[in-house]
Structures are given as C-alpha cells and as structure tokens.
C-alpha cells in the first residue's frame, strides 16, 4: 500500500461483514482491533501518494499484462529437483521446496535448513528469497 516507503497496515472487508461488525459494535461495544501501524498521518500520506502514483501510472493494468509471463516463468521452475510445487496470487509467488533426491535418502537436512540454504544462494545471485513455514503447518493452525 505504501510501496514499503512507510510502515502502514489496513484491513479490507466486505460491506456485509462491515455492517455486521458495526451492528455488533453498536450493540455491545467496540470491536477493538487495531493494526500495529495504522492511523499514522505520515504513513497515511505516503500511502495515499503511492496509491495515486499507482493509479496515474496504471500499474494494475501493467501487472495484469505481465501476469502471463510471470506465471510461465514460475511454472518453469516446477521441473527443478528442489521444487515440489508453485503457486501465486498476482505477482506474489510461492515456491514449495522439497529435499533433493540424495538428501531425501540421507534424510540429513530438514526443510527449514533447505529454505535457509536457498536464501543464502539467492543472496549470492543478487535476489532476496523470503521463506515461510511449510504450507502444511499453516493448514494445521
């Protein structure tokens, strides 16, 4: 939202959800929820400016135009021995890692260590690969 120029967070919800939330707040008191970074005037001004630039430069349209190329490139990684799957939401991509064949046999490297290795290798190639917990751990929560 701010292009990472300033820390800011927001919550998006449907009109129906908001109406129910408002009704509950009116009847029983505020739904007291807050983001760590919200309502700061400087961050809000930065976010408004970034959104204005995105609209002026028609960034969303550009994103839609390059999405097929992004998808093709992402899917092209599927044949790599360390990749067990890929997925994306817009230009945010996720790559699921798996042990290489040799390591799978040896069982000596956990997936978290693998993500750390890929992170380091990414730095050596001039890119930052962020890692998160395995999707399966998210599903369990």
């Amino acid at each position: 939202m701010s292009g990472a120029y300033a820390p800011i967070a927001a919550i998006i919800m449907s009109e129906e959800f908001y109406a129910r939330l408002k009704k509950g707040s009116d009847e029983t008191g505020w739904f007291a929820h807050a983001g760590t970074y919200h309502a700061h005037p400087v961050a809000a001004a930065v976010a408004l400016k970034v959104l204005a630039i995105m609209e002026k430069r028609n960034i969303l349209s550009h994103v839609r135009s390059i999405l097929p190329a992004w998808q093709r490139q992402l899917q092209s990684l599927a044949d790599h021995p360390l990749v067990s799957g890929t997925r994306h939401f817009g230009l945010a991509a996720g790559i699921e890692l798996q042990q290489g064949q040799q390591q799978a046999v040896q069982g000596s490297l956990k997936v978290a260590g693998l993500a750390k290795q890929v992170y380091g290798a990414g730095l050596a190639e001039g890119i930052i690969v962020r890692h998160s917990r395995p999707a399966s751990s998210w599903r369990r929560r």
């Binding site: 390059i66 992004w70 790559i95």
Partner: protein
C-alpha cells in the same frame, strides 16, 4: 530518484533465471555436503 514501478518481461525472465541458479547452487551444496 524513485525506483521503477514497471517490471518488464525481460526483467521477469532475469529474476527467475537468478532464482533457478540459486536453486541449482543449493542443489550443488547438498551434493557436496
């Protein structure tokens, strides 16, 4: 100077080429570990 907001197809290809090299590098590290 503001960073570019527009990424091109060529830059996407370069990004994923680097990512593949990073994966290859990791695979080699595993092989030699």
């Amino acid at each position: 100077m503001a960073p570019p907001l527009i990424i091109t197809d060529a830059e996407i290809a370069e990004l994923f080429a680097r990512l593949r090299r990073a994966l290859d590098r990791t695979l080699r590290q595993q092989s030699t570990a």
